[in-house]
Symmetry: C2
Subunit: 127 residues, 2 copies
DNA sequence: TTAGTACTACGAAACAATTCGTAAATACAA
DNA sequence: TTGTATTTACGAATTGTTTCGTAGTACTAA
């Protein structure tokens, strides 16, 4: 069993992981372009963070050509689990339901999303 | 409009805020006792963090007697909103529903909690 | 009054995260 | 070949968080 998924990504790392989860393989340049749509950042800053992520085992990279290709190693599922779990403990006194209502109350969810959650809840009943 | 609620508490600060939200007024000693049920920490460490929280405006304190009495200034509601919102953006690509299902799937929620959420969802429909 | 205990204040060390400058290597075009 | 651009690697500065030791002060019991 590897440890990589238990490592807690920082906020910057999480931003990058999200891009990698979405896109699959990316160069530093590609990640950087996407990042800078939302915020200011120097290219070498992005590079450095991705290099550190590599050291930590959060990403892997193909260095066979000059421009390296990065992809996520940290599992999206595990990372999300970990973050949600931590948030529930840290800020919602361990109550998942309170977090859920908070999340639903303050983010506009589409009718489809609401229906999906209802269905999900009904299925939970029969377990 | 004050800024204090927009300040993002650190993890340690959040642990302490949770205690203050729950208990109301506390001495450093009381907070420290509760904290050390779960983890190791020196007394002056807890003290120092609470002093910094005071400087940041996360808590207020009554210094009229030798032993200071602390209470939360940061609003529980606003802080939770902020954290949930950040998590949805940071790790769930902006989808509240995905976070909700993650939260429900990996934490045992009581039947009552589930019912409360269902009711909540039904009420949402009629807004 | 004196010894011991509990508390605050403060400084500094240790650690982690972020940012960026610069140098070296590579590729490519003129 | 020579110059320009792109990329990686690396070191260092900066900032923020956490931890704890020590000193000074107040309270309390003997």
């Amino acid at each position: 069993m590897s440890l990589q998924n238990t490592i807690k990504p920082t906020e910057s790392e999480l931003e990058i992981l999200q891009i990698l989860w979405e896109k699959g393989n990316c160069t530093v340049r590609e990640v950087h372009e996407i990042l800078t749509q939302h915020k200011e950042a120097g290219y070498t800053t992005t590079l450095k963070i991705m290099q550190l992520m590599h050291e930590k085992g959060l990403v892997k990279r193909d260095t066979s050509s000059k421009t390296h290709i990065y992809s996520a190693l940290a599992s999206q599922q595990k990372t999300q689990e970990h973050l949600v779990s931590k948030l529930i403990d840290n800020a919602f006194s361990g109550s998942a339901a309170r977090l859920v209502m908070q999340a639903l109350g303050n983010h506009t969810s589409s009718k489809d999303e609401i229906e999906a959650i209802k269905k999900y809840l009904n299925d939970l009943d029969y377990k």
